[in-house]
C-alpha cells in the first residue's frame, strides 16, 4: 500500500511518500488511520485530530468506513486551500 502525505501532514510526519504493509485487521480508512497513528510520535501528532484530516483512496475522497486494501494509494491531507 502506498501512503502519501501533503501539506502539514507531510511536515509533521516528516514523510511525503512511503510503502507500507499494514496488518490484515486493517480493513477500513478508520482502521488504517489508527494503525498509522501508533507508528511513532510524528504520526501520532499529525493524526491527533482525525476530524481535521481528509483522506483519498486511489485519488477519490474517502469516508472513514470505506475499505482499503494492499494495492491502494492512500493520501492524507488537510482540507484544501487552492484557488
Amino acid at each position: 500500500m502506498k501512503l502519501l502525505y501533503f501539506a502539514w501532514l507531510k511536515t509533521k510526519t516528516g514523510v511525503s511518500e512511503e510503502t507500507v504493509s499494514p496488518p490484515e485487521e486493517v480493513k477500513t480508512v478508520a482502521d488504517l488511520l489508527g494503525w498509522i497513528k501508533q507508528r511513532g510520535p510524528g504520526f501520532e501528532d499529525a493524526l491527533a485530530d482525525i476530524e481535521a484530516l481528509r483522506v483519498a483512496v486511489n485519488q477519490e475522497y474517502a469516508e472513514m468506513t470505506d475499505p482499503v486494501s494492499a494495492g491502494d494509494e492512500v493520501a492524507l491531507f488537510p482540507p484544501v486551500t487552492g484557488g
Partner: protein, 154 residues
C-alpha cells in the same frame, strides 16, 4: 480544458483562444485569482502552492464535466498554477463561453467555488514567523454548498 502548471499564463491570449472560431459564443466569463500580500491582517511574502499530481487533474476534470452538464457551454478552461508564487501573481483562471451571459457567468462562479473546496491544493505562506499552512475557511464551504441546488437559469 484543464491545465495544471508551474508557469504563468497570458490572460488575453487564453480568453481569445477559448472563443476562437466559434461564432455561436455570445459571451465569455472569467475569474482570475491573484496572490495577496495580506492574510488575516498579517503581511505575507511569497507562497508555495502544493498539489497532489494526478488527483488534481482528476478533480478539476470532474468539476468541469459537472459544469458542462449543468449549463449550455461551448467551451471552458481551468488553469491552476503550483509552485512558488509572489504577491500579485496569477494563481488560477476559470473561463466559460456560452451563447448567453447567464450560463457563462453562473458556470464560472460555480467552477471557482467548487474548485476551492474540492481540488487538492494547499497554500504555504511565508510570514514573519516562518512558513504557515493556510487553514481552509468555512465561508468557502458555504460558497460551494449553494451550488448543490440546481441552477435557476434552466
Amino acid at each position: 480544458m484543464i491545465r495544471v502548471q508551474r508557469e504563468d499564463f497570458d490572460l488575453g491570449e487564453e480568453l481569445r483562444a477559448l472563443s476562437a472560431g466559434d461564432h455561436g459564443i455570445g459571451g465569455v466569463a472569467s475569474f482570475v485569482g491573484l496572490v495577496r500580500d495580506m492574510a488575516g491582517g498579517e503581511k505575507v511574502g511569497a507562497m508555495m502552492l502544493e498539489h497532489y499530481p494526478g488527483m488534481t487533474e482528476k478533480m478539476l476534470g470532474r468539476i468541469e464535466a459537472e459544469a458542462l452538464e449543468r449549463w449550455p457551454l461551448n467551451a471552458s478552461l481551468i488553469i491552476h498554477r503550483y509552485g512558488r508564487l509572489e504577491p500579485g501573481d496569477q494563481i488560477v483562471l476559470v473561463a466559460t463561453a456560452s451563447p448567453h451571459r447567464e450560463a457563462a457567468l453562473e458556470s464560472c462562479h460555480f467552477l471557482i467555488d467548487w474548485l476551492k473546496t474540492k481540488a487538492p491544493f494547499w497554500k504555504l505562506e511565508d510570514t514573519p514567523d516562518g512558513g504557515q499552512w493556510v487553514d481552509a475557511r468555512d465561508s468557502d464551504g458555504d460558497a460551494a454548498a449553494r451550488w448543490i441546488k440546481q441552477p435557476t437559469s434552466e
